[in-house]
Every structure is written in C-alpha cells, then in structure tokens.
Amino acid sequence: MFEVRFHGRGGQGAVTAAELLALAAFDEGLQAQAFPSFGSERMGAPVAAFCRIDETPIRRREPVAAPDAVVIQDPTLLHHVEVFGGLAAEGYVLINTSRSVRELGLGELLERHTHNRVLTLPAGELARARLGRPIPNAALLGALVALTGLVSLSSLERAIRERFSGSAGEANVLAARDAQLLASTRLVRGGLGVGGGG
C-alpha cells in the first residue's frame, strides 16, 4: 500500500488533489481511496487530505499516520502543522515553493531522507501561467508523478480531464505536464532543485 498525505489550506484544493490521484490510480486498475481530514472547512484554515493506493481492496479508514509521501501545497504550513509526522526516511516530500529545501530551513530533511526523494517546485507559479490562478493541484500531482512514478502522466491527465471539463481541464493538464518536466529535470540533475536550486 502507498499512502499519500496532502497538506494545504482551505480553498487550495487538497481534497481535489487526493481525489485526482485516486482517480488516476483507479484508471490504472489499482484500488484507491481518497478522503478529507475531518477538520475545519474554513477558507485558509489548514486542511489535510489522504490518498491510499494498493493492489487489493483498501479496508482501513483512519487518517494516514505514516505516509509514504507528503505533498505540501503551502510552505507557510511548515511552521504550524506537523506535516512530516510519521514520514519514514524513504518517504517522499514535495513542497510548493519557489525556494529550495535549504532556503526553507529544511536542510536536515536532505540529510535524513533517501537521495532524490525531497523536492521543491513552484507549482503555484506554474499553475498561474496556465490557469491564470495559483491553484497548485495539478502541477503538484505532475511533479509527484515524476518524483514517485506512482501513476503515469497519461492516467493523471485522464483523471484531470474527467474531473474538469473543457478549458479548465486542458489548462490543468498543461500545468501538470510543465511540472512533471521541471521535476524530472531537477531530479536528473541530482538534487539541484532538491538541494540548492529553485
């Protein structure tokens, strides 16, 4: 089982991100479960959403306590919420920011975590270029595809188009592709984006 925890703020679409990932996994013939945290629904309040992916039916219904990956939609949450709680050394970290991991003051994450598993990426900026709004979801999922290989980019694109029709769907697909490409480049360059770049 692969478990992903999304951290965002109300209105950023953390729940939609979890659902899109589940939809993409389902599209690949996998079992998937997505659900929101049962916290405040106010705009701007910290929210979490969860996605589990497995080859067999998923039975557990508790929040993800020991994620295989965490996706942080808003770097201001780093100081308010225990976003890395339960994350193992082999776990993946993806943060929406134009700054590097070290610039965020998270250099120790790089020491602790397996090589090439921590990535920052300006997903909000990539989204703004394609959507006109800094909704980072699709871009972060594109980057997550590059980081983990959890699902294919084409499954993700199908999920995005299924959820968002017309131009909104196409713009989100482009944002996901941009992010997938940028993330792949950064990962190949062996930690430029990971460590000092961005």
Partner: protein, 419 residues
C-alpha cells in the same frame, strides 16, 4: 457484471437511489448529507427520473411530513438527513413508522450539539433508536449503495420505514471504487410500489385514527410484529441481492475470522474495515481475535448474535455513541442477546465527533483488555487529565465558565483571553 467506478460515497448513493425510481424526493440540506440531495436534485432536474418530483422543503420536519404525505398517496418517497436534522424530524419519524409508511431515508451519521460539531458519530441515529424505523448500518460505500436497493424492497414488503445509516464524511466524502447497481437488475429486484394503504378520494380511509386504551397496545404491537417480519426478510433479501448482483451486501450481521476467536469486537458501520485489518494484525501475533458488524440494529438480530458469539470468551462492543449516565447503547442489546451465556462484555466508546479510530489506539486498548485492565466502559483516547482540570475549575460551586470554551482554551485552539 457491473463495472466499478471511482466515486464519492454520496454520489454513489444518489445514483443508486435514482435507479430505485423514487417518485417524490423531499429534503433539506445539512452537512454531511448535502452532496447526496444535491446530486439527486440535479438528476431530477435533468428529467431522467420524470415524473419524480423533488420538493425543496423549509425544514427537516417538513421533509419528513412531505414524505409521509407522498407515501400515503402511494408514491415511493425518499429523503436524507443527519444530526440535528434527524432530531428535528423526531415527531414525524414516529408518525411515519406508526402509520406503517415505507419511506426510505439515508442518515449521514453525525454528532449532535452541544457542543456543536459537524463530524461523524452515531449519536443522531442512536437518539432515534426507538422511533420504530428499521435501522441498517453500512460498512462501506458499496454496501451503502446496495443497502438502498434492499431498503426500498424491505420497506415496501413489510410496510415499514427504513433508515440506511452511513458514517458522515468517513463514507459520504470518501472516494473509492463502487459498482453501481445497474438499472435492469434493480428493476427486476424492486417491483413497482404497491401500497398496502392509500389516501384515495374514490375509496376513503382514515390514516392516523385516534386509538384509545382499548386498542393502542394492539396497534403498537403490530409495529413490533412487523419488525419481527423484517428480521426474517432481511437475510432473504440479502441472499436474493447476492444472486442477482453477484456480491454480498447487507444482511443482519457479518463476521470476520470469528471461528475459534477468544475475543470478538462488535461494531456498527465503517469502522468494520479498520477492524478487519486489526484482526489480521493481532492474529499474526497469535491472538485469537474476530470482528462482527451489526448491519441491522433495528430489528436487532438476537438469534444471529447469540449463535455467532456463544463460543467466545470476551466481547468488546465498540460504539460511536453512548448513553450519558449508563455507557454503551448497543452493549445493552448485545448483553440481552447473550443472556445466560458465559461471556465477558466490555464497552469501548470511540470516534465521537469525528475523532479518528486508529489501529494504533485499538491495539493499545486490546493490550489493556488482554491484561484484564480495561474499564467496563472505556473511552478510547480520552484525555482524562484535561477533564479532571475542568472538573476542578467547577468544584465547590465555583463559576468555572463554559466547558467547551475552557477545554478549547487549554488546547490552544481558542486564544487565551480573560477568564
């Protein structure tokens, strides 16, 4: 064979209800039921269900009143609610069951205020435990969808209203694979509604006649007798459903690895999946643990429970609501079913107001149970120190202030201010 789709639980239920061809849907939105009735209103507006009428009512009391009126004129009626909405219906709920009207209602289970809380537990449905409705509890979104098809047939077969309870948020807002029951087998399984009584100007009858002491007991006993019929009917309907749709859903109870179990955890609703994983983990360590889901809480399956639990030594009833001043609600019925059987019964209250029921907390609880150190009524993950400090503030008639705000302030959720 139906194909699964990756769907939100609410949407799966809405689409399934639509395939049951309701003729009147009346509802008032309330979290976490809203997505269900929103989806149904769109389906009705599309014309797909014509001549079904969607009635936007001004309250839950009106929702149930419209359902009663619609059902009494021979229409297949559906509504959905949760929490305070269910309480607001209370008087009409007793009328619907007392009149024997086969209304089907989804309850997206949610806590009851005060303190106000929008998240899941079973306080709402348990508060209306005795209103005369059949109460079914779904363990998954697949089962929630399937149970609605069975609920309409059960309701109309026994002329009784049926509540399908599904955990708010945990199920209603979870996106997971669901095979929607297809239209053709639903039509074959669920024949058109043939009411046992109809308000018809051509053939006038009185529904809801005043009944005095000379006959009240007999009319009330009829309600009890009909729930007894439902107890026989539910397994038959589940078997027929499995034969037509190719999957097991519903029924009175479901057991998981109870054979040779020393201890069985009994629960209602969506926690059953988590319990199955817990059972596997404990069994891998050598413990002889099983789990049992009660799918039909009203009528209560006394015989099935007795048969399933008679050879076990301990029963832990995991409850998502409690009776203040007593403890468990389901526990009382389980104990009655096991009268004369040598079984230790404990109550664990868990998951109140949306608190997650985690395997880690359940493991810790089971460790205490194995050591014989579990309280007869145990509150999972209760912060007793927090409670003690609040009690201390109110000792000796002190003006301690409102409990909820005090507790939130201690937790740092409400900013500290003048006390």
């Amino acid at each position: 064979m139906a194909v699964a789709s990756q769907l939100e639980g609410s949407l799966a239920v809405a689409r399934t209800v639509a395939r049951c061809r309701p003729q009147v849907i009346c509802a008032y939105p309330i979290t976490p039921q809203t997505h269900i009735v929103e989806a149904l209103s769109r389906i009705v507006a599309s014309g797909e269900l014509a001549p079904c009428e969607f009635v936007n009512v001004e309250s839950e009391f009106a929702a149930m009143s419209v359902a009663i009126g619609a059902s009494a004129t021979g229409a297949r009626a559906y509504t959905a609610t949760a929490s305070q909405g269910l309480l607001y219906m209370a008087e009409a709920l007793f009328n619907a069951s007392g009149l024997g009207l086969p209304i089907v209602m989804t309850v997206a289970n949610r806590a009851i205020g005060a303190p106000i809380n929008i998240w899941n537990d079973h306080s709402d449905a348990m508060a209306l435990r005795d209103c005369g409705w059949v109460q079914l509890y779904a363990t998954s979104n697949q089962e929630a969808a399937d149970m609605h098809v069975q609920a309409f047939r059960l309701a109309e077969r026994c002329s009784l209203p049926v509540m399908v309870c599904m955990d708010g948020f945990v199920l209603t807002h979870a996106v997971e694979p669901v095979e929607l029951p297809e239209q053709e087998p639903v039509d074959a399984y669920l024949p058109p509604f043939r009411p046992r009584q109809v308000l018809d100007p051509e053939d006038p009858v009185t529904m809801g006649a005043l009944v005095g002491p000379e006959a009240y007991t007999e009319v009330r006993y009829l309600a009890h007798a009909k729930q007894g019929e439902a107890l026989d009917e539910i397994p038959v309907l589940a078997t027929d459903f499995a034969a037509r749709f190719g999957r097991a859903s519903g029924g009175l109870i479901e057991t998981y690895r109870c054979e040779g179990a020393d201890t069985v955890i009994v629960a209602l609703g969506s926690v059953f999946g988590t319990l199955q994983e817990l059972v596997d983990e404990r069994r891998a360590q050598g413990a002889r643990l099983g789990a049992l889901a009660i799918k039909s809480f009203r009528p209560f399956p006394v015989g099935e429970l007795r048969a399933a639990l008679s050879s076990t030594r301990g029963v832990i009833v995991l409850e998502r609501a409690f009776s203040v001043g007593v403890g468990g609600i389901v526990t009382g019925d389980v104990r009655a079913a096991l009268a004369g059987v040598d079984v230790d019964t404990a109550t664990v209250i868990a998951g109140l107001g949306g608190r997650a029921i985690t395997r880690s907390s359940l493991h810790a609880m089971l460790d205490r149970h194995e050591q014989g150190a579990l309280q007869p009524v145990h509150f999972l993950d209760l912060d007793i120190d927090l409670v003690e400090r609040e009690l201390a503030r109110h000792r000796d008639g002190e003006r301690g202030g409102p409990h909820a705000e005090n507790i939130l302030r201690e937790l740092g959720i409400v900013a500290a201010g003048p006390v």
